[in-house]
Symmetry: C2
Amino acid sequence: MGIVRKTKALSTVLQIFEEKNEAKSVVHLIELVKDKMNKTTVYRILDRLEQDGTIHSFNGKDGLKWYAKCEGCSANHHSDKHPHFQCTKCDKVECLPLEIKIPSIKNHKVDSTDILLIGQCEVCSM
Amino acid sequence: MGIVRKTKALSTVLQIFEEKNEAKSVVHLIELVKDKMNKTTVYRILDRLEQDGTIHSFNGKDGLKWYAKCEGCSANHHSDKHPHFQCTKCDKVECLPLEIKIPSIKNHKVDSTDILLIGQCEVCSM
DNA sequence: TCTAATTTTGCAACTCAATTGCATTAACAA
DNA sequence: TTGTTAATGCAATTGAGTTGCAAAATTAGA
Ligand SMILES: [Mn+2]
Ligand SMILES: [Mn+2]
Ligand SMILES: [Zn+2]
Ligand SMILES: [Zn+2]
């Protein structure tokens, strides 16, 4: 089950995602709201929001878990199949609105892809 | 610095990679050699082999670290840019000898890619 | 508005991969 | 054979993420 009750902690987390369309690591989120709620609460709110199709998760370069807003997903269908980009200089992570073609692989069935591009972002590559 | 001395522990680990051309998770490797060496030693040997360009590492679906043999890499240049495939049924991980085209991204500089395809392997998709 | 059901939260304890410090052992150049 | 120092074992530690449980907050309905 996803979100059932509208709590203050939920609004606080949601607002962070509304403010700026940028991915956030859980570690960073916990730091951002550490005066307002417990880290367990952050994990649980993120879980519920993902189940609802409000946000989606993926792993960053360092192994940390990241979350970002969804577009056009719902509780029973996550349609986020886009790649992500992580900047090695400022550590910012972006969702990339593009499709990467995966060639078919002999005798294999590909269900999903997990693509992280690493490099320098718009700001840091100048 | 990479490998300097040829130790028994090193040979044991190297032999595992020689035997079969398949990726191994560190957790599995530690289990395989647990009667012969300490887990810290496994981590350190893998580090040194990666520095030498003998093996390369990447993260699996579950967040664990995996290693596989390199082909044509050296101490100062890792040329492994291939994607990996992880089977959801048997958990086997393979290096895929294919190139995935990454479209250029406006104002971004892509240095490396981290591509994991998830699905069913040759054995499990039948 | 008040009550009761139940979802949500805080907190402490825990798990597990990975790392670190340090004393001891093993490799190998001379 | 010996001295140097790389490599190892071991115990402690780190840090992200999880779990159990009691207390608090939300919300539907009386
Ligand atoms: Mn995304
Ligand atoms: Mn590989
Ligand atoms: Zn940047
Ligand atoms: Zn399989």
